[in-house]
Amino acid sequence: MIRKQDLGFRLGTGAFALVLILIVVAIGFELTRQSMLSIQKFGLAFWRTDTWDPVAEEFGALPFIWGTLYSSVLALALATPVALGIAVFISELCPDWLKQPLVFLTELLAAIPSIVYGLWGIFVMVPAVRVLETSLPPTLRQLPVFSGPPLGVGMLSAALILAIMVIPFTSSVAREVLKAVPGAQREGAYALGATRFEAIRAALFYARTGIIGAIMLGFGRALGETMAVTMVIGNNPKVSLSLFAPQYTMAAVIANEFTEAADQLYLNALIEIGLVLFIITLVVNGLSRLLIWSMARSGSRSRAAAAAAPAEVTAA
């Protein structure tokens, strides 16, 4: 028998959870409703057309989808090793007196407003990137990933600034996850004669679902980042593999063009970009859940196997 107080508590918190679901549904509904003109006119072609011409009123989201995913994936590739390195160092290797300052500094990085990152990017990082680009040997410049004039602004700068912005998120969550790994895991590893490196590897393996979650959190952050990216990416809606080429992201085009868009179809197309971003974010989150879920399942199997292994050893 549930007590009255318990029931009230359950209903209350349940209502809050329900509100969350309703908000997500309402956002999806409203984005669809407000972009109806564009959806009816362009249909699915909106996803694969690479023209964005407000004068001729022809709109396609492909360059923005490409730019968003490309910059986020690059940022993730750059940020993940560094972020995990920071997390491992702080939680496993760092001397105690250094721990708090390091934790404080990584969290401080997360608190810097993105416009500050953007300004730093345009005045400090972009010139440095330009020097890097011009000093690249001509043989490498033949490759499609390094083609085009070395402008400084472009995909490379965007990926770098995103990586810097993502690092504190991923490393903070990864550190917390590593902290939650039971001490017995490491002790067990040491007891079996593992080196420190092997013990840390065991801890990382134990925490892998949480770490994937941390990486995905960073990915979500990279997908939606607007201000810092638009200031260094060059804002040119062209699909290109080149790291030097100026490109564009979905969040950036909405921020740039929404205020001055006065025609209905144009506005609808911009809102549909928002809808596309919303769907992509949902899909990415869904996929990461799936990944974590499948890892957790295979993990429980391998843990069972691991549990069985010592038994065999004793038996032998």
């Binding site: 011409d53 407000p54 004068v55 400084g152 804002n235 001055e260 006065a262 025609d263």
Partner: protein
Amino acid sequence: MMKTFACVAAVSLLAGATVLAQTTINGAGATFPNPIYSKWFAEYNKLHPNVQINYQSIGSGGGIQQITKETVFFGASDGPMTDEQLKAAPGPILHFPTVLGAVVPVYNITGVSSDLKFTGPVLADIYLGKITKWNDPAIVKLNPGAKLPATDITVVHRSDGSGTTYIWVDYLSKLSPEFQSKVGVKTSVNWPIGVGGKGNEGVSGLVTQTPGAIGYVELIYALQNKISYGSVQNAAGEFVKASVQSVTAAAAGAAAKMPADFRVSITNAPGPGVYPISSFTWLLLYENPKDKAQGKMMTDFMKWALTDGQKYCAELGYAPLPSNVVKMEMAALAKIKGS
């Protein structure tokens, strides 16, 4: 003692009375005229404490939308409303030019310190990607004295939708049929080449950092930040550097052919001493406003802004309206129905 008390009471009564009588008029729109509009509304409020005008600089597109939906009393835009947009509004909307702005070419070429000369077709070809080097014969011909290097030109444009872009492409489209057909005129366009910077500061930041870059910024921004800029050939064939005087001259030159609704582009305006990349910025009002009292107040304000208010232009870097345009607007203001 009693006297002081009576005084205080009287003052507070008076204060209460003004608070009660104060009317707030709301407007929204273009960011470009925001500094002078804010100045005007503050100064006007000092003269007429009962009128409080509230302005949100949310962008021209936003201003047009808000006035169309009647969520604000007046709108403001850097580009005139199209026929289609006017039709979408519940009643006739009138355009009133308030001040003038101009757009100037800025560039960064190593070894060139003098002011360069440009023509509309040359600028259009640069922005179309047809002229790709600084020592292109077309640029050399205009600037025989300058030591132009064989550097690649990096084209910089605005990434955000902007009245500045509107004026720039409006001018290029008038001078180059190819630009007109390939790019066209709007606050955001599909640029064939180049990189986009956010805002005047983004464009000028990219230009100053990139050797060989060319961009365009508002005249006010260039003046306030002491950025040097090039001169542009006008319809009379002269090379003119943008200044408050040469921009006002553009409006005076265009006044002869001014349409009754003031929806006119004054880029490439005729006449001597005219800077060709100039434009009005407009305030938008309903001809038959719902709130007649506010309509009257706003008309009074406009009369003040077009005459006494113009003296604030100089200190803020805007070009004031020429007297012939002011006269035409005064006549048009009489059309607004107020109590």
